[in-house]
Point group: C2
Chain length 334, copies 2
DNA sequence: CTGAAAGCGCTTACAG
DNA sequence: CTGAAAGCGCTTACAG
């Protein structure tokens, strides 16, 4: 049916191996031979069969990306950048949405999804380091995010604590003293919620402001939950003069609820988020937030994963990368 | 290295073909034989090699999705739903971002991307129907969106004209007479911008309100362009009492600019969008928009594409599906 | 520098 | 109901 390497070899009057050599940029081919092969390829309109190549070579030139939900703005923007970075190196990205379900996360590690990809960019939300280590095959895996901080794994993440502390310090410097936090449990101290809450607590401590658990509203990181959490605080009569949404969609949900209730932002209550999604700049009022270095995260995680896939070193220890962050001061918390 | 079908056959004391029959749910297998094979599979931890299966069968059980930019909220939400719908039928979705570049769109039709997938969900933005027809191989392709309306192709789309007309009629009914449109050229009449503009014009006509080209601001569909377009109208001194952003991010960009300039929304200027992305509900004020039936679009386009892939009929004519829409009246244009 | 052969792990006619 | 054989289209040692 389709044109094969055999057809090309016949047309060029060489063996299969020579065609393969040309395709794989083998150095030592006589220019004349190479030219004949290339002419035959163009003439016949030959295209390499990627499946056959994969079967024989054991490589697919696809990377797996496991995240909870591609429709969340942060993940959508990250996935888009990861795909572009991978594409520049000749790789495609296959996305798996886990919905934060343990079974899906586990299956991504060893099932067909793993088989289809040469390496994994993994954002686990529910399974733990040991579960991952137990299912870790030979193929490389780079952790994205901060659910797992384990020296065994490569990890690309952001400065959660530092950035959250800087943001909180900014709110404190503006005179805010009762800063509500949306998206963590008061006692949480690991994972993205916990680390960001740690930063918040450190900044409070530094300023000599007491930590009040009543100000901490736990919820899943979705827009509607941000709104509901703030509604809950207001209904309970908890007094606060700022809201720190642990990500932007939470902050934007909170902002919406405050404005609906007639609370003036930032005059009465300042609002700040975390992520700097495209939307933050265009919210009304625009959202003060932290830019966590998403482009750097995308670049470095692709670079690290491809080094593992293509590089010689299998490495004993995991590499830990932390992207730099930037405070983005806007109208919602000047 | 890995466990193969041969290993399973040996362990179960049957031939390769019998193992294949069990794996592929062939009907006529003696229960005892089937059981022995299944036991061997579990015992050895056998997993089918998908690459080998693909090479032999010519099927990858992957669908291609070509869109301009996964980080755009509408596409991110659509991609997420498409993946879920495909997953229920045992397929994966591989995304290709075209950035609205013609070359990328063309390559998606015949290059390696096509080879890796059994069928394509294609949102072309720049190439035309003939270019597509010329490169259309044997594999099925379903158009998404409305850049191409051609009887040769299967198409799943939304009621652009009707929905835009309904939205415009809503603005007119609320007494708005100078409705600016952001995201189309005044003379445009095809593609998403053109069709939505047609709907706008029809509603104006129906209401006996003259069409004023000065109110039509062309720009690419990005948030910052929506803001810039409104800034342009205000700076030129064009009078208007409503803005219809041809998609939600344009409307939200416009809303932002209006509020920055101290224009009261909706009192002085009403704002409406199109798409009903998650963000619309939580904007401040919340955004009046059109919900174009995204879930229906996702479901039906997957169903249609898989019918083509798995079904017997190669069909002469393309099937055209239009999802239903709903007007979402919120605070920005009550 | 180039060739002839083996084999990656499946599915698919072809037999019986 | 089940088996023996061929072959999908490549890459990879092995020779020379």
């Amino acid at each position: 049916m389709a044109v094969t390497m055999n057809d090309v070899a016949r047309a060029a009057g060489v063996s299969l191996k020579t065609v393969s050599n040309v395709l794989n940029d083998y150095e030592f081919i006589r220019p004349a031979t190479k030219q004949r092969v290339q002419d035959a390829i163009v003439e016949l309109g030959y295209e390499a069969n990627l499946t056959a190549r994969s079967l024989r070579s054991g490589k697919t030139r696809m990377l797996g990306l496991v995240l909870s939900d591609l429709s969340a703005p942060y993940y959508a923007e990250l996935a888009s950048r990861l795909m572009k970075a991978a594409s520049l190196r000749g790789y495609r990205v296959l996305v798996e949405q886990s919905d934060a379900v343990a079974e899906v996360e586990l299956n991504a590690l060893q099932g067909p999804f793993r088989q289809l990809t040469d390496g994994l960019l993994f954002t686990p939300l529910v399974i733990d380091a040991d579960a991952i280590a137990a299912r870790l095959g030979k193929k490389p895996l780079v952790m994205l995010g901060e659910h797992i901080l384990d020296p065994r794994f490569d990890l690309v993440t952001m400065k959660n604590e530092e950035a959250a502390a800087a943001l909180t310090a900014h709110l404190l410097a503006a005179g805010r003293r009762r800063i509500a936090v949306v998206g963590a449990r008061p006692e949480e101290s690991t994972g993205s919620p916990g680390l960001r809450l740690n930063g918040y607590r450190k900044a409070l401590e530094q300023a000599g402001v007491p930590f009040d658990p009543a100000l901490i509203a736990p919820c899943e990181w979705r827009r509607d939950n941000g709104a509901a959490a703030v509604a809950g605080l207001l209904d309970k009569g908890v007094a606060f003069d700022a809201v720190f949404g642990l990500n932007d969609v939470l902050a934007l949900g909170a902002l919406h609820e405050l404005l609906i209730r007639g609370v003036r932002v930032p005059d009465e209550v300042a609002v700040a988020g975390f992520d700097d999604i495209d939307e933050a700049r265009f919210a009304s009022p625009s959202l003060t937030t932290v830019s966590p270095g998403m482009e750097e995260i995308a670049q470095r995680s692709i670079a690290l994963l491809l080094d593992r896939i293509e590089g010689q070193e299998t490495a004993g220890q995991g590499v830990h990368v932390e992207a730099g962050f930037q405070l983005k001061v806007r109208e919602s918390a000047p």
